[in-house]
Amino acid sequence: MKEGFYKKINEEFGITPEQQKKEASLEDWSVFQNLEKEVLISSVGELKKQNNLRKAFMGITAGLLLFSAMPAFASEKLGDLSIKNGESSSSSILEKSSVETEKKLEAKKVSFSIEPEAANLLKEWGYNIDQENLIIDSDEGFFRLNTSGKATGVKIVVGSFASSFFSVGDNKDVILVKSIDQDGSTEELVITKDLFILDGVKHNRYDD
């Protein structure tokens, strides 16, 4: 653990670095963390140890470790997280979450279609389409399309827009992203070259 990390905790929670070091140096926790670090680095290699996925795994561990070790959030606080988690047994959690994950992945299969004209227009405007993961990506940001409820798919088309509600400036072409369900299509997202309209709110694509 770096000094700066402890300093940050100290500032936020009023805990002395000495207290924090004492708690965080518990042997069991160190074993947990070091074992994970060694295995993952040996897996991806030294050159790829900056791999984001590895960092995410280690970040979760470091966060939980500090959370459990902080006097202000004593170890029983992990029990609070377990309650949030809705679980009580380590064996059942592994089994249950595995089944739930499989069900979720199964349930998320949706159809996706995009008109060639819409694909060309989005490409011209600097968007990439990740059909498998339902992501419309650009340098400024990305849209994730999550279907739920009755929706069985996503359809992207070139369309017109009622400018009486929103001014779209010089943008005459618009892209409509529609959900598909048993009751018909519903337009949810409008994209033009410089802006997008989400949930009835207009956003400039280039604003921070």
Binding site: D28, L40, V44, R54, G59, G63, N85, L94, T101, L198
Partner: protein, 102 residues
């Protein structure tokens, strides 16, 4: 406006805890799974680089979010019970996932 599709836009530079929260909100996780993440995000100190890594990883697809959610759940339980055997199992699962996604 119907509610059958959720769309979210995440700005490239929104690599903050709030960005992480937005991503969880727009995800297909269950309410209890989302609450677990919110509790984690709100109560646990993460380094900036860890938040960035999580966001970049989670942007890839929902499978990764589901995997990290399970990872978070399992680690909480293992740590709470001081269960090194479960911990080793978690790490082996992480290793496999990492290798298949590198």
């Amino acid at each position: 406006m119907g509610l059958n599709i959720t769309v979210m836009m995440i700005k490239r530079n929104n690599y903050t805890k709030n960005g992480l929260r937005e991503l969880i909100v727009a995800s297909s996780l269950s309410d209890s799974e989302k609450n677990l993440w919110f509790y984690f995000i709100d109560n646990i100190i993460l380094k900036k680089e860890e938040v960035v890594a999580m966001l970049k990883t989670l942007q890839v697809n929902d499978n990764t979010l589901n995997f990290l959610t399970k990872n978070l759940q399992d680690k909480i339980t293992a740590m709470k019970n001081n269960d090194k055997l479960v911990w080793q199992e978690i790490i082996q699962v992480e290793k496999k996932y990492l290798e298949s996604n590198s």
